[in-house]
């Protein structure tokens, strides 16, 4: 019996967004608000996840699909323990490592410093960092750019380096949020292999991507989210992907009979 790694139990996540307008934005109106002891009108609640439940097991690669704003990234951040649940719970075996496109570490610092600090923050010893450093830089393929501050990187290079850092350690749970989407074909191949390796190391991988081909290549299960709820979930990856495409008004994917 495979061990469950992630149990999501009727999860609800609510964001509180500040500054959503509604206030005139003058000192006088702010003062009036305080006098009347009103809450800030600009606080708005966004109910991003509305009762999601599922179990992911050791060795699973779970794809999460859905339209923009359907709660995919929120779900991943809740699994990583970075967002508290409003209701329900997320249970995990160990900590999840989240990789996202906008998860810049320290923009002012060089790629090299980011690699070292990122690895140290994940709890590696200095010796481990020294040992893995060349492999991480090589895997990311940023080359000489490693000595430049990360704000000088292209989007693709930045996300490649971040993926390389986060995947340097074998995590029990790796959460990848569109990080591969910006890589080139060569990098996609490499990261595909790395995800397979991580799965083989008895971990669980979650993948959020709009590129459905990527989901089909990497995942053995898929969850389709819509407005914070699960529409379909299961291991019939092509079936659910097609249903999702159909609901979005697209055509089913044309698949080659045999994939390499």
């Amino acid at each position: 019996m495979a061990k469950p790694m992630v149990v999501v139990d009727d999860l609800h996540v609510v964001y509180r967004v500040y500054g959503g307008g509604g206030d005139k934005g003058t000192a006088a109106s702010s003062l009036m608000r305080l006098m009347r002891k009103q809450r800030r009108p600009s606080i708005r609640e966004v109910h991003a996840i509305r009762g999601v439940s599922f179990v992911a097991y050791r060795g699973d690669a779970v794809g999460v699909i859905g339209r923009n704003g359907s709660g995919k990234s929120t779900l991943l951040r809740a699994i990583a323990g970075l967002l508290p649940a409003e209701q329900g719970a997320v249970y995990t075996d160990g900590h999840g490592a989240l990789l996202g496109v906008n998860a810049a570490l320290l923009d002012d610092l060089t790629g090299e410093k980011n690699v070292v600090l990122g690895c140290l923050a994940m709890g590696m010893s200095r010796q481990e960092v020294r040992d893995r450093y060349p492999k991480i830089v090589e895997f990311s393929g940023v080359g000489d750019f490693v000595n430049l501050p990360m704000r000088a990187y292209s989007t693709g290079m930045g996300s490649r380096l971040r993926f390389a850092i986060a995947s340097a350690k074998s995590h029990d749970i790796l959460l990848v949020d569109e990080a591969l989407a910006t890589g080139d074909a060569e990098f996609r191949q490499k990261s595909h292999r790395r995800i397979d390796e991580l799965r083989a190391e008895a971990g669980t991988v979650f993948l959020v991507a709009h590129n459905l081909g990527e989901i089909e290549e990497n995942c053995n299960r898929v969850i389709w989210l819509e407005k914070g709820k699960i529409v379909q979930a299961g291991d019939d990856v092509p079936g659910i992907v097609d249903a999702y495409l159909e609901a979005s008004g697209g055509q089913p994917r044309v698949r080659e009979p045999a994939k390499i």
């Binding site: 923050a121 010893s125 979930a233």
Partner: protein, 361 residues
């Protein structure tokens, strides 16, 4: 419960409507699933059975300290990297580390030493002032930058899992590094005004250690408050400036003439942690301060009165030592230890209790 297909079985547990194939979602109020979290809830039981932990669970205090110790190289690395990054855009670079406090001393000397003449009754006022400014600056900067540390490091917090206490600790470490530069300037000034080098100088190490503990404690508290309300970092400069004027940076609380008539107020000002550390550093490094601090010499009411009548004349300037001390030297040391320990214990626990809330929203 295992094997292929179990995920699809599981989804029958999701909220009503979760199974429907048509993506027909409306914005109806969600109906809370009452089974969640209670005993008998199959998913919670499954999680418990396999020893899974709540993903947003707060680590136990002792485990947290262990994790923090394990990340010690991250803290130092983070501090060094931030320190370098802070000055990359300025041409003078790290020179600003020395230049900023020196310019501050220049301004305060101009205003308080020359224009307002608060130097009255203090020997070697310039060294006295330099120590005050630099030592206070350490606490001030630690507090102010810590109130922003959680905002500044949001990407890092959201990307990686590590004990968040690393961040305020790293920031205080940056300030400690800056203080080391300042200490060199302090030594140079103290020597330049003609104070002798003595074994007492070594005591600066425990004093600054206690102050560092105090600063770390404060920065934990302010980091947590600042993470919740951005208003704090707007308000803090005013609070700190008030504190600055209460801490005897540019006048001597012990011997200021106007204060001498209000022993109650003097006592209060002297218990203030910033004043405690400043006074201790002054007493350690400056012989003139050791000799002139009230209580340092046998009590002599005649000399004491003379001091307050003619404090600007150099022949009486050290006679304040013959007055009664409001707080004696030993109490000052106990205060320094007390404030440091109190701040770090309270601050650490206060910060740790909100560990899982940082970076949300």
């Amino acid at each position: 419960m295992s094997g292929p297909g179990s995920l699809s079985k599981r989804r029958s547990l999701s909220a009503p409507g979760g199974l429907s194939d048509a993506p027909e979602m409306d914005d109806e109020e969600y109906v809370p699933d009452e089974a969640a979290g209670l005993p008998g809830d199959p998913l919670a039981d499954l999680a418990r059975e396999h020893g899974l932990q709540l993903s947003s669970a707060r680590p136990k205090l002792f485990d947290y300290m262990k994790q923090l110790w394990q990340r010690r190289y991250f803290i130092t690395g983070f501090a060094t990297a931030r320190n370098i990054a802070m000055y990359t855009d300025s041409r003078l670079g790290q020179v600003w580390q020395v230049l900023t406090p020196l310019l501050n001393v220049g301004v305060y000397y101009l205003i308080f030493g020359l224009v307002l003449d608060t130097s009255r009754g203090v020997k070697n006022f310039i060294a006295f002032l330099v120590i005050g400014v630099f030592v206070f600056n350490f606490t001030q900067r630690s507090c102010i930058i810590s109130s922003r540390v959680m905002f500044d490091s949001l990407p890092l917090i959201r990307a990686l899992h590590f004990p968040r206490a690393c961040l305020p600790l790293g920031y205080v470490l940056i300030e400690l590094q800056q203080l080391m530069v300042s200490v060199v300037v302090i030594f140079a000034t103290v020597l330049a005004v003609g104070e002798p080098v003595t074994w007492y100088w070594l005591l600066i190490i425990p004093v600054l250690l206690m102050q560092t503990l105090f600063n770390v404690g404060c920065s934990f508290i302010l980091a947590r408050i600042g993470a919740g309300f951005d208003d704090v970092s707007q308000l803090l400069p005013f609070i700190v400036r008030t504190w600055f004027y209460c801490s005897g940076v540019m006048f001597s609380i012990q011997t200021y003439r106007t204060l001498a008539q209000h022993p109650g107020l003097t006592r209060l000002l002297q218990y203030n942690p910033a004043a405690v550390y400043i006074t201790l550093v002054r007493d350690v490094l400056m012989r003139s301060q050791r000799l002139s601090s009230p209580g340092a010499q046998p009590y002599n009411s005649h000399l004491c009165t003379l001091y307050y009548q003619h404090s600007s004349e150099s022949q009486y300037i050290l006679d304040s030592g013959h007055c009664h001390a409001v707080i004696n030297q030993a109490t000052l040391w106990y205060c320094g230890i007390g404030w440091g320990v109190l701040a770090i214990v309270v601050g650490f626990i206060f910060f740790w209790r909100a560990e899982v809330q940082y970076g949300r929203g």
